[in-house]
């Protein structure tokens, strides 16, 4: 028997979560759908968000060193480490294009099929879903992916609603190796005036 986890229930520790499963989600998950130590494959090195028109960096996190000892990684962190709470200036909602850059290192064995699915919700409703297949990743490589999103034009009323609803903008990011979930991160977004 296979267990298909839904957005509502947390899976048994042994059940693996597939891309098809998360593509069915219509609301943020209540729990993380895989343990932190499911990730034996990749290590995030940098993450950056920029306004493409001005090339201004809005957010940046970076590891101090790119050197990774794959035999001695600390995967004991708590769930808080898997959640990012962003606060952006309200002007963010008026940008025409936003670029998100992810830099990641790949384990010495390489990856034959790497895929990311990200689900974005506002007030519990699915707003957008991103699905990107990296495919093969070279053993021991360092890779960069920047995605430039053309932002949908929002009217003043929508902008106001988003500013007045802090932390109602949420996302789930799922990372798969060979169609098995290896990493699940969450983010919340608020816009400050």
């Amino acid at each position: 028997m296979t267990v298909t986890p839904s957005a509502k229930t947390s899976p048994a520790a042994t059940a693996s979560v597939s891309p098809d499963d998360v593509l069915k989600h219509d609301r943020p998950t209540e729990k993380f759908l895989c343990p932190i130590n499911a990730n034996a494959f990749i290590e995030f090195l940098e993450f950056r968000i920029r306004d493409v028109d001005t090339n201004q960096v809005m957010f940046e996190v970076k590891r101090p060193s790119y050197e990774i000892d794959w035999n001695a990684r600390d995967l004991s962190g708590s769930d808080e480490l898997r959640t990012i709470n962003y606060t952006f200036p309200a002007a963010f909602l008026k940008y025409k294009a936003v670029g998100t850059t992810l830099v990641f290192a790949v384990c010495p064995a390489g990856i034959s099929n790497f895929r990311m699915i990200e689900r974005h919700y506002f007030k519990g409703k699915l707003m957008k879903s991103f699905d990107f297949t990296f495919g093969f990743c070279i053993p021991g490589s360092v890779n960069t992916w920047e995605s430039v999103y053309t932002m949908p034009p929002l009217d003043p009323k929508q902008i106001e609603e988003m500013i007045e609803s802090p932390d109602q903008t949420l996302s789930d990011s799922f990372y798969f190796v060979d169609d098995t979930l290896i990493m699940h991160n969450k983010a919340s977004y608020r816009y400050a005036t």
Binding site: F132, F134, S141, V142, W145, V148
Partner: protein, 185 residues
């Protein structure tokens, strides 16, 4: 169904184009990619994997893949051929003379790949801003481009540092690909 209807219909779904940028190490692949994307190009180190840019361009969703060109990585290039619509081959026009033979051999070997059979081929004769850079005509001769019968190809002299002709080249490759996509539909 008329042509206009076909074009309209195509516009409704997201049109994705996959472009693969390859070339010998230090040809300027990453610099070209960053320059096209309006990013800082002052600190670029050798690519030890891939750099991908996903962006909107003239109504298309472009996925541009730049894979490192060092000799130790070249054997992995074949993992990125699948579904490639356009191949951009970048040449350092001011490279050491002995490297052009290598450059020509790698390019012609790619052109025999079945999974790249349908791809449009753009050759960027990069680093035209450097003194001693060979012209695009000279590069075309060194790489024996005339012998290519299997692919639509075009060579464009450019400079990733000044930005000269990068958009000319990208426009050509995207237009060539889109013509093909329209015809197939």
């Amino acid at each position: 169904m008329g042509l206009l209807t076909v074009l309209k219909k195509l516009k409704q779904k997201e049109k994705e184009i996959r472009i693969l940028i390859l070339g010998l190490d230090n040809a300027g692949k990453t610099t070209i990619l960053k320059r096209i994307n309006g990013e800082d190009i002052s600190t670029i180190s050798p690519t030890l994997g891939f750099n991908i840019k996903t962006l909107d361009y003239n109504g298309y969703k472009l996925n541009i893949w730049d894979v490192g060109g060092q000799k130790s990585i070249r054997s992995y290039w074949r993992n990125y051929f699948e579904q490639t619509d356009g191949l951009v081959w970048v040449v350092d026009s001011a490279d050491r003379p002995d490297r052009f033979a290598d450059c020509k051999a790698e390019l012609h070997s790619l052109l025999t790949e079945e999974r790249l059979a349908g791809a449009s081929l753009l050759i960027f004769a990069n680093k035209q801003d450097l003194p001693g850079a060979l012209s695009s005509e000279e590069i075309a001769k060194l790489l024996d481009l005339k012998a290519i019968q299997t692919h639509h190809w075009q060579i464009v002299g450019c400079s990733a540092v000044t930005g000269d002709n990068l958009l000319t080249g990208m426009d050509w490759v995207v237009t060539d690909i889109s013509k093909r996509i329209y015809m197939l539909d």
